[in-house]
Subunit: 390 residues, 2 copies
């Protein structure tokens, strides 16, 4: 077996690790898919934003730069997902963005009566689907196995909400096949790409995806609470509506006219003043990702997760992550009955995974900032903790 | 007449100006009610947040600090508005927050059929009232004169949405009297305090206000796109619902259970991951405001606006701002047919007011960072520009 050091030496993306702040008190940071590390460029850019843009330019910053950040940065994030310009925008949190898109979907498919969502999908997705369905008088159908929707989606279905990569197991769904199954019933496909954007290529336009939403504080390294993005395919843009019509979604932001008229562009999906510092951090993270390239990132990611799964197996640990690299995203997850205690003990020893109810220890392996040596050392500590607990 | 220099010398808050970055290329910054200046403490705190908290602590920051910022910072902002702890929370933009509270109000007053809003209020308020009323099947009644609601509010009224300080004229409404008029009809009072928080005392609890919303990038100096806050009076908290039910509003954020159960506290008003950097900036701005004291700030604010109005009158200019100090907020507004050109020409000469359609030049006089000498110099330039244009 190739050693971790050899894998690092052969890794064409290895130097990207030097572009991040690497904490010196940790053996391994396995939470880059919960909160990504800080890029040095982002640190510097945020400091110059605060000192020079906000501090010095003040209101003038809005007029000539900040006002366009939702679409400019949105397009840069869109480019990482195979989205042509004009379809992606930075706005609110993922939850608020998803809320908007669910209403958008319902208005695009009048007369249909059901929203489909994974039973085990990310909680906010399920919660919002239930809340919006109730408010709009629709039913919710839960899917246990999202890998085949042919028996699920029907002429009743408005939209199917799917997680590209499962936040627990790391299961990677086949976007093209599932989107085709959804479209065969005339329904819309809404993909939550929180756990895939920045970790692997996504072909939003090519797969004919209708709507998508995702966050930026994971693999895009934009910091805690950084704004989410939402995507509306060009073919739906003219008809798309959203429920939170504020001054930022109006055709003329500063006309402040009596009658609301929605912007014709993706700006119609905005509501209030977007967070400037957050969008700037997203821009830096997106540029770092673009520089490395999503194909190269995916290659490294598969190598990292394969390496981690090999170590997990060698240590005799149980995993819920697919062995088939084509069916998993950027994280691997260990199952252990004392997962909570293992996570706490590992954290105390400088290895930071993520505990997920009820018995999962999730290892996020951020391709740009995680080394193979780090993975090896971290999994060794986890195995040691587990053997001492077990 | 006392000179500007004498007024500055006698100003007990004069030293607070030194706590801000004061741009050296400007004669006068009259846009502190659009985007407040950068406090030095905020600059330093944001830099240490990025370097030490995000960069070093990474995911650990959530566990022991960031997760509570929405309520901790919310309470600090609430304290500036006479709100006891547990009723104010930092969350999304003002628009999203108002959207939530409109739905909250409708659910608190079932069977009623109308929302009342000012015809000339801030656009996002009007737009959202119309959007939510339409979605929920309610009527909208527009008020031309918000200073007396006795003939407007009825047993049909769900909620009245009022701007504490008018964004154009600076008219300051009488919160206690109007809230009593609204309550006499059994309706709810929802106050938009964007243009008053940080500029004058607000007695949310004392006036019996039901719901409030406000932004933090004006007088609280929290930076472009900083998060807004929303307030729900304690008496309504148990019954209050909001439409965007995400994981952050759930009773247990990390349980990620199958069934959504709303948090019993103000956290029920959250949706997705809140912006950490933004909340930290709000906290610094709120602390600076608390240190100065809202009563002292109001005294300085009245002195600044009185001084500015005197200068405006002396220069023979027209204003739409009330002469009675008790009836105006923290800004004064000049009316001039060439307002747009005047604003552009003044900006080119280092004086930054705000143009507002169709003929208004707004002068925001942020009490903590604006000096009387600055006001005098800035109004002189405006008068000179106007005389050369006129």
């Amino acid at each position: 077996m190739t050693t971790a050091a050899e894998l690092d030496a052969a890794d064409p993306l290895a130097s990207f690790r030097d572009r991040f702040v690497i904490e010196d008190d940790l053996i391994a940071y396995f939470d880059g898919n919960s909160l990504g590390r800080l890029p040095l460029a982002t640190r510097d850019r945020l400091e110059s934003f605060v000192r020079e843009e906000w501090g010095r330019d003040l209101i003038r910053g809005w007029a000539d730069r900040w006002v366009d950040l939702p679409t400019v940065v949105g397009d840069e994030v869109g480019a990482l997902m195979g989205a042509a310009a004009g379809q992606t925008i930075m706005a609110d949190s993922t939850s608020v963005s998803l809320y908007k898109l669910l209403h958008t979907a319902i208005d695009l498919r009048p007369g249909r009566s059901e929203i489909v969502v994974e039973r085990a999908g990310f909680p906010t997705d399920r919660y919002l689907v239930e809340a919006v369905a109730k408010a709009r008088g629709l039913d919710v159908t839960f899917v246990d196995d999202p890998t085949d929707l042919t028996q699920i989606v029907s002429e009743r279905t408005v939209v199917v909400v799917l997680n590209h990569v499962d936040y627990r197991s790391g299961l990677l769904l086949d976007v093209a096949t599932l989107t085709n199954q959804i479209h065969a019933a005339g329904a819309l496909a809404l993909w939550d790409v929180c756990h895939s954007v920045g970790a692997l290529p996504i072909d939003l336009d090519g797969a004919g995806i209708d709507l998508a939403v995702g966050c930026t504080y994971k693999y895009l390294n934009a910091g805690p609470g950084a704004p989410a993005f939402l995507y509306v395919a060009e073919q739906h843009l003219a008809a798309a509506r959203q429920p939170i019509e504020g001054w930022w979604s109006a055709a003329n932001l500063f006309a402040m006219g009596e009658q609301y008229e929605a912007a014709p562009s993706m700006r119609k999906m905005l509501s209030g003043t977007p967070p400037v510092g957050g969008m700037i951090a997203v821009q830096e993270g997106a540029r770092l990702t673009a520089e490395a390239g999503t194909e190269a990132i995916r290659t490294k990611s598969v190598a990292l997760t394969s390496f981690a799964l090999g170590l997990i197996e060698a240590h005799g640990l149980d995993t819920v992550t697919p062995r088939d690299a084509a069916r998993r995203g950027g994280h691997v997850t260990i199952r252990h009955p004392q997962a909570r205690q293992v996570t706490a003990a590992a954290t105390a020893r400088g290895v930071l995974p993520d505990f997920r109810e009820p018995d999962l220890i999730r290892l996020g392996l951020s391709p740009l900032s995680t080394s193979f040596v780090e993975v090896e050392a971290g999994v060794a500590v986890l195995a040691d903790v587990i053997s001492s607990i077990g």
